[in-house]
Structure formats: C-alpha cells, structure tokens
Assembly symmetry: C2
Amino acid sequence: MGTRPATSLLIRIDPRARETLQQQIYAGIRRAVLEGLVTPRTRLPSSRALAEDLRVSRTTSLLAVEQLRAEGYLTARRGSGTFVADLLPDDHPQAGSARVAPKPIHPPLSRRGAALVAARQGARRLPGPPRPFRIGTPGVDLFPVRLWSRLASRRLRAVTSAQLDYGDPAGLRVLREAIAKHVETARGTRCAADQVLMVAGAQQGLDLICRLLLDPGDRVWMEEPGYPGARSALLGAGARILPVRVDVEAGVRSAGNVRLVYVTPSHQYPLGVPMSLPRRLTLLKWAAAARAWVVEDDYDSEFRYGARPIPCLHGLDIDGRVIYVGSFSKTLFPGLRLGFLIVPPDLQDRVVAARSAADQHPPSLDQAVLADFIVEGHFARHLRRMRAAYRERLESLAAAAERFCRGRLRLRPVQAGLHAVADLDGVDAVRVSREAATRGVEATPLSAYFVGRSRGANSLVLGFGAVRPEAASRGMERLAAAIEAARRL
Amino acid sequence: MGTRPATSLLIRIDPRARETLQQQIYAGIRRAVLEGLVTPRTRLPSSRALAEDLRVSRTTSLLAVEQLRAEGYLTARRGSGTFVADLLPDDHPQAGSARVAPKPIHPPLSRRGAALVAARQGARRLPGPPRPFRIGTPGVDLFPVRLWSRLASRRLRAVTSAQLDYGDPAGLRVLREAIAKHVETARGTRCAADQVLMVAGAQQGLDLICRLLLDPGDRVWMEEPGYPGARSALLGAGARILPVRVDVEAGVRSAGNVRLVYVTPSHQYPLGVPMSLPRRLTLLKWAAAARAWVVEDDYDSEFRYGARPIPCLHGLDIDGRVIYVGSFSKTLFPGLRLGFLIVPPDLQDRVVAARSAADQHPPSLDQAVLADFIVEGHFARHLRRMRAAYRERLESLAAAAERFCRGRLRLRPVQAGLHAVADLDGVDAVRVSREAATRGVEATPLSAYFVGRSRGANSLVLGFGAVRPEAASRGMERLAAAIEAARRL
C-alpha cells in the first residue's frame, strides 16, 4: 500500500452505540491495523479528512488518533502526516516495559487544558452558510447592515486617541448604562450600570464565571437537556455536572452540596418551556439556603409570541446571588461577539480584574457603535421588527410541517425563541438527523443535548430564526424524505 | 461621626515598604478602628474612592476592605456601603469561637479565580487620555481612521449572512493567510496559515496558552524584569514563576525542571535589548533538551531604528516548540483587540478547541477589515510611516531629556520599540515617579517590572510612541521639576 492514504471506510460509526464516537474510531482503526487491513507505513487520512468522512468533530478524530499514537499503533512524521507504525505494540505482548511508543516530543496538555479541549467535543457546528433548520443562528438576513455601517462610519470619523487606546476592562460606560436601562424595561430587572460588564459574547461570560467561581471537582446543577456551550464552560473549569431534569422541585431535592446552578428560565434550552414563577421563587429560596450562585442565561428571551413575560430571575433576586448572562448574538448577529454579565455588586471588581487578566477589554469601536444603536432607539425598533419576522417564520415552519410531515412530525407549541421541538413517531430521531444531513438539512436530535441517557427523547430540534418561509418549505420537504428514508433503514 | 464618610487621610501608604499595599491599607484601617479614630457605624469611602485617594488599584483597596469585613472589623449593608462594625472582634479577645464575623453571604472565589484577580494587581493602567510618557500606547494620533472607516463601510455593504453568523474559532481564513505571508517577510519565519490562530489581543493568547499548557504549581521561567501582562496570565494559571535576569546562560543553569519559558527576544520588555543570536540558539537547544515550551512575545518588534533584525525565535525553531505571540495593539491600535498566535502543528487543533470553549471566535467584521488592510498593502505602508514617526518622537524625547534633565537623567540607547529606559542619579526613581504623577506625567519606575527585588534598578521607563514632539518637551520639563522635588524630599 506504500504511502497511499488509508480509506476511512474501514470504520463504522454508530451514534447510538454505548461507546463514544472517539472510542469507536479508536477501536476501528486499531482493529484495521491489527487485522492487517492497513499495513505498516500506510499513511492515515488527516484528522480533518477523517472527521469529514465520519461526520464527527475534528477533536473527536484527533483524540482517537492521538491515543493510537501514544499507544504505538501509529507514528507521526513531522510535516508528512500519521502512519501505521512499523512495529506494533501487540507484536511484543510479553515485553511490557519495552513497549514501542513514540517518544512524545512535547509535554502533555495541562489537566485543565485537556478538560477544555475535551469539553468542546459535544458542541459541534457545521460550517457553511446557515441551512434549514440550523439552531442558534438568528435572522441575520434581516439585519440592518446599512444603518450599522452608517453608525460605524460616524463613530470612526469622530474617533479620539483615547478611544483607540486601551479601554476599560468593564466595557464602555455609555454602553453599560444603555444596557442597564434596556434590561429594566425589557427584562424586568434593575441594576446599576456598574454591575453591567461587557464580555465578548455569552460564552466568554460563562467561561469567566466558571473560572472565577468554580474549583475543579465543584458540583454544579445543570438543566438536562441543556445548552452545550454552558456544559463546555463548566467542564472546562473541571466542574462535576449534576444533570437535573427541567424540574426545580426535583433539583432542590437532589442537588445537595452544589456551588452553582445554570438555568435558562425564560426559554429553556432546548425544550423551550419557561420556568413558572413559583418555581423561580423556589429556586431562589433554595439557592439562598444552599449559598449557591445562580447563573441565569437569558439567551433569546426578547422574542416572545403571545405569552405574558415573567420577570427574569435577576429581577426576583433580593439576595444578590443571580448572575445574569445576556447576549447580542440572537438580538443582533453572532459575528459581533458582544454580550454582557450583570453581576452582584460584591463580585463586580473581581470579575473586572479577572477579565482584564484574561483579555484586557472588548473592542472599543464595536462597543461604541452598539451603544449608539441602543441609545438612538434602533435596537428597540429592530427587536419589534424581528419579533414580527420570527412569528412569520414560525408560522411558515408549522405550515410546512403540516403540509409535508403530517402525522410523522409534531411541533410542540412555541411560546418564545428561535427554535421548535418536534416529536417523531415510530422512527428514530438520530437516523432522521443523519438522513437529513445528506439532504442539506440540519435537524438536530434532542438527545444531543443530554449529558446522561436521553430516555424517551425521540425528537428533533429545529431552528427557524434564519429560515425564510420559502426555505422552510423546501427544507421540510427534504426532511419528510429523510424521515421516509430513515423509516426504510 | 454618624454616617459621614471616614476620610482616607488616616492611612499612609509607602510603596517602598516591605508590606504590600493591601497589607498597609488593611493595617491602616484596622488601626484607625481599634484606636477609635473612626467610630462604629462610620461609613467607609467606597473602594473606588479609597483607591483613588491612595493611588492604588481598586482591587488592592477592595481586597483590604474585604479582609477587614471577613474578620468582623467592617460590615457591609447592601446598597448603602461599608461601615465600621458595631461590635469589634477585638472587643472579645477571649471568646475565640464566638468571634463576631459577619456571615459571608457568598461562597468565596475559586482558587484559580482568586489567583486571577490577585494576578491583575501588579498591572495598573491609569485612566484618561495618554499622557507623556505612557508605556504601551502607540501613536494612535497618526492612525489612518478615514482609510479604516472606508474599508469597514465597504465590507459592511457587501456583508453576507454567513459573515454575520458564527465564524471559525481559528479566525478568518483570509486574514490568517495574510498574516502568515507578513511574518515571513517581516519577521523571518515561515508557517502555514493553519498554524496562525486569531485571538482577541496578545493577552488572550497568553491566557489561552497558560490555561492549556500549565497546571497549577508548574514552574515557568520568566524574564526579570518582565512584562506584567504575561505575569498576570502565568499567575492566573497558578504557575510558579522563576524570575531569570535577562541572561540566557544563567537561565539555562538555574532553570531546572521548567515547563515553559516566556521571553521577548526581539526587544526585551522593558529593558529594550534584543537577545543575541547565540543566546537564541542556546535557549532553543536547552528547551529541546528540557522539553519546555518557549513563548515568544514579539510585541513591538516591527519598529527598529537602525539595528539589523535578528530572525525571531520561531524562525530558528526546528523542533516545533516555540509559540509565537503577535499583536496588532502596537502596529495598529489597542482598542482593536486583535492579535494572533503561531502554534506548532500538533497544538493547532487543541488551541482552537480551547478557544472555541472559551469565547467562540474573534469578531468577524473587524477581522475582515484587518485582512483587507493587510492584503491591500495599507499595513506595510502604515508600518513604514510609523517607523519614521517613532524615530522622530524618539529623537524629540532624547533632545528634551538633554535640554531639561541634563546630568540627572540618562537615556539608554534605543534600538527598537516604543519606550526608553532612563537612568537616574542620586534620586530615587519611585519618588520621582510619584512626583511626576502629580504633575500629569507618567514615568514608570523600572522596579515595577520586577517580581523579585530590583537590586540597583534606579531607572524610569518612558514611552514615546504616543508622545508628539511638543508634548515630549513639555513632559520632560515637568519631569525635570519632579526630579527636583523628589531630590528635596
């Protein structure tokens, strides 16, 4: 075989198997090597090619290959790739100490580094332009880029030396004031501008909170199913996640010695249900008694369809233990990378110090443009316009589901946000998801959002924020075909 | 005294004392309380006011106050401030177990969080527009804002939905390619665009590297004196810093079991000397034998005045263990918050995964504008123009020093970068720095950059990048007055 790349057809992946994807790839390659299906010195496909072929994340394929390298089945040659080792470790089963492992050139990652890298495995994002029914992408096609551009030009023309210099690690004062005012009217909570800290998106906010408040091994209560980005931040900080079904009473009973609770009360991610007022009060009372921090991720609560808003947890908190995480990724556009935290007063200076040590401060000009956008009323107008657009997109989604998938796919009622949960009947959601992917449709199985076993969750999560009516119709037609194909498998 | 704020005149701070500033503030307030100089229920100034009065960082004042609160000397009332406690802990010296400490409402910070917050104490930055002779601020007054604005508008007009959506955590491909090309011609190193990873400024790059590669307690070799931002990142990761005088041979002899070396070989921060070629090779050879990572911070090497450039360490590295940290804060403007890492190929995917878990990706539009700026040749032109401007500013600084401070201040030769080291004779640099501050002049004592004792370093570090010729003259006149005042103290 020489240096011809080995094909990845040797490996079969089953997303529903008990083993992780990484374990399956590891076992598949090892078997192929041991059984002589690939001979010594055969070049392996790159981890990128492997990941693409197998439809797994690069990290997954990379970690599997690294394990095989560490164990001596594969060797790496700088600049030319990874090869099947000349001398396999299993050739000398009796010579335990003389094991043929390639000498690692570099020291390994730190424990926290390995945790951080591994944490990211769960959260995959497909490249390319948004396809139906991608989750997390808002209706960027409707973003007023000309207006934004005009505000940006005006700011740049009037820029001062101080604005180009290093800025306040807490963020631009005028922006923090505008946000404090906005959350008071829109989210039913009051805070001083001092408590609002700008971050490079909600993910940085979560990462910062986890680093600052959690020691490795600390127990954390996280919703099950839940948001993979939060899970990454928690695992990256070495936290032990206690997955709690979306049921505050059960959480309170089982939580025990928990240091932090992560919740999405306005619109549970990904189920979409809001947390009731009595449950909110129960959670806060419990947190006060348990002396736990409560992280409230309010990621897309601005978009509601009819239901009366409940004040956010932060607005009900009289005890200063709720940390509110806000994002502009859904309300404006994700590429902006701006979000904010609202922290209790006694945490304020410490979060700012940590943030400053981590990456100084957010980009000054982007903050200035955003401040103008809010202060001049464009933000409120944009939200109103998008609320109407999203309602229309939701209706298109429902109509398309009714037309193409009647009886096979049932949308659960959507009260808020940019995605819907759809239950399947008699056909496996993971299979449907894979069939849909081959047809250019993103339909994420609900089970992907579970840390533990996803008992009985045979559903898909469908984003509609970035899906225009005509695309919803085309996408749903293909999803119907995917369901048919999965049923025949 | 009622609730009239206590004045901070009760506390005397001596920056040269053996105790830290925090310890001095703690001791000062405690003494005032115990001696009855401030009575129970007296309201303390806010930590911000305290910090301003005492000219220390807010974190310093905050931590001192928090310690006093934890020990029961002070109490906090939500929303109204911090007060001298009714019942002092020392009122009951015999009742050890019944100690009157206010019940802490919140759990403490994590160990790493406390390290991160404490790490930032060393690195203070004065607010307000750049004053002479601030360090770290480039000549933002000469930045071509109109050109930048034009590029930004053009990008925004042509923006696609995919560009507004979430982006690649490694950064924009076209920008990474442009940077790979630039470092090849400008810095004498070659790398694939895949190895270039965009970060939100050099500080984020350092923080990411430290998290990924260092476990708490790992030993790290850092230059002494050295860059406070790097020190923050290292301490924030829990590393044990081994300060090594700028002398590779001494480092190699004393380093021992070190996992990572942080160096600024092109232009040592803050001394300004370049590392010689033989020393570079010695360092790399040692690092290969010690299996240590080498972090090369190339923060302002683009600006050289005459001396022939030496290839950067990354360009001499045949072993894949140098991590290059690049920044646009000096070459463009700090408020942009963009920098990059060049990492060895086997680290690439893991840094990207960690970065994605930490904060997703850098802002898309800023990256796109920067890419255009480089690709269209504006960056190279801007560097040429700034090199000439900085040479002129350096000459103005030297002329002003000669005119106003002759015999009292001796500038060391400057071969590169945006700051100069100036030696003082017969007058203490810390005193001069304090006197200068009262005159609106920033003159940082060299001793501020030492981790250990700064034996014999009686010098000032003076930035000239942001100081126009006329401002240099005025600033130097005031600095001369500060030297006179410090001499008379």
